[in-house]
Point group: C2
Chain length 319, copies 2
DNA sequence: TTGTATGCGTTATCAT
DNA sequence: ATGATAACGCATACAA
């Protein structure tokens, strides 16, 4: 494996000069430059990037933490991140956590070990205390609305979105409204729960614990939801479903069970994933690719920033 | 940023001793070990992994090339890879290529630059000549049935699968059978095309170019296929669809257009993705997660191996 | 059991 | 414009 010193010897120049032509620095005689280039050519030389990283203290590597890679929500986020990463010559190390803290810790460890320059956590599992502890080692970007002054975030206002969607359903005549979320513990879910409670209070509607369903992530989970609803004495007449995947699963399942949508059950999905368009599902569009792009920019930026993205209700056939 | 030398000074030992306790080597006095540990504790020390990489010439990083991250086929492959990567303490650098050669080259470059130890290419875009050229820099694993003796592969027998599926449809009475694939140029597609031609020949069926549709990857593409079929004078009575995503899109679209499945159109999907089960789609199960695991093992192995995985027809309601 | 010295391949500083 | 040399932080052969 030929190195920069070998090149220097071959071209009859110093390593510094070699380094200069390698990095397109000015102040190098054209003849010598050609000599170096020739040495590079004959030896089929190429840099050992690890040496560069050690010397520079940077890796051009960005960590991205997602719970699942096979979910459109995160795939679209990733798409936005990857787009800008490519443009800025960054590579991505993807951590698929399945919501396990241990996996997320792995990413944090890599930041500490300087193997990645910064870390984007699309959905956090570990405590904020742990996150903050790792802030000295590099930028950490999150997707939540947080007070913490030392880290950047890109998010949507889940409280407002949820509240508005609930009011929308109320105005359509619905009085028995439930919702499906992913994890119960996520901070986004807490905002949603607060919105739900505030909504019930404002409109003097009774609280029905069975109308709240968690662990809804994938297409298949839509089936579980419908099955559970069918067992209820008084089923909800409308559901807010925080993923079009799950909403699509519900629509499919309802067809099998001859449940009419929106007649028997109205559904509002989230994200405006491609499947929502095809299945004509009313949904709340979240600009995931744009969010991904912003996350990347925040990750490589020296400054801390907070960015709220706006969403859009797309009225289709399930309400 | 404290380093190994600082620790040595603080603990009153040599850097070698520090390195020994850091790497859990034997032959180190317990007292000194404690002294080093104490120094590590008070300084909150942690290794600079880049230095380790430079010194060792390895990174514990594995590259994975996929065209899309938001497609279940590749997501499941990735899941299998990620599972074993975690167990073996490897991290993954994911390259999402969108089938662009330039993106794939990026991955190859990283291999050349020793930033990744090996590379798994789940769907190849660049020429084999380019791939072979990079073989000296690390293991490259592919998902095709290849002769090349210097690289490992994990694959399914696309020729046989296609041929058998066509015969299956024939035996069900179908005489106008078409198929949908992703890229026309991929080597897997070539095997399929050969199977199709051989099938037509054997059963003396006419070749109808319009029965072959490419660029079918995602859910939405199912709609395109149905629209195209509806414009045909004599539409196919059955379709082999190389992704359950697309098959699901077709089923959904057919419902909107009152096209009966399997009455008007029979469909066999591929992969046995979760959506196929929910929508009751007849499909050919490919053990993607298992394939992913095998790909990983091949990537870190010193030996070259070829592994054919077997598939299973799952009969459901679309044929 | 421990330490010295050197290698890993590059970049950066400083002098000329 | 060019070069010598010192970082960068760790691993390891060899000596003791």
């Amino acid at each position: 494996m030929t190195n920069i010193r070998d090149l220097a010897k071959m071209a009859g120049v110093s390593v510094t000069t070699v380094s200069r032509v390698l990095n397109h620095h000015p102040y190098v005689n054209e003849e010598k430059r050609q000599a170096v280039l020739e040495a590079i050519r004959v030896t089929n030389y190429h840099k050992n990037i690890n040496a560069v990283h050690l010397s520079k203290g940077k890796t051009q590597l960005l960590g991205v933490v997602i719970p699942f890679s096979d979910h459109p929500y995160f795939a679209l986020l990733l798409k936005g991140i990857a787009k800008l990463a490519f443009d800025h010559n960054y590579k991505l190390v993807v951590f698929q956590t399945d919501y396990l803290v241990s996996r997320e810790m792995e990413a944090l460890q890599m930041l500490k070990h300087k193997q990645i320059d910064a870390l984007i956590i699309c959905s956090r599992t570990s405590d904020m205390a742990i996150i903050e502890e790792h802030l000295p080692y590099g930028a950490i970007v999150l997707c939540e609305n947080l007070e913490e002054k030392r880290l950047s975030t890109t998010f949507v206002n889940h409280y407002k979105i949820f509240f508005d969607a609930l009011v929308y359903l109320y105005n359509k005549g619905h009085r028995r409204i439930g919702y499906c979320i992913g994890r119960k513990s996520g901070s986004n879910s807490q905002h949603r729960e607060r919105a739900y409670r505030d909504f019930l209070k404002k409109y003097k509607l009774p609280h029905h614990p069975f109308y709240i369903m968690d662990e809804c992530f994938h297409f298949e989970d839509g089936e579980k939801v419908i099955n559970r609803i069918m067992e209820l004495d008084t089923a909800p007449s409308a559901l807010l479903v925080t993923s079009d995947q799950v909403a699509a699963g519900m629509v499919t399942c309802c067809q099998n069970h001859n449940i009419s949508i929106p007649g028997d059950l109205a559904i509002i999905g989230f994200d405006n994933e491609p499947i929502a368009k095809m299945m004509n599902i009313t949904t709340i569009e979240i600009p995931l690719v744009e969010m991904g792009k912003n996350l990347f920019l925040q990750a490589i930026s020296k400054d801390v920033s907070k960015k709220e993205m706006s969403v859009k209700l797309i009225e289709r056939a399930t309400v």
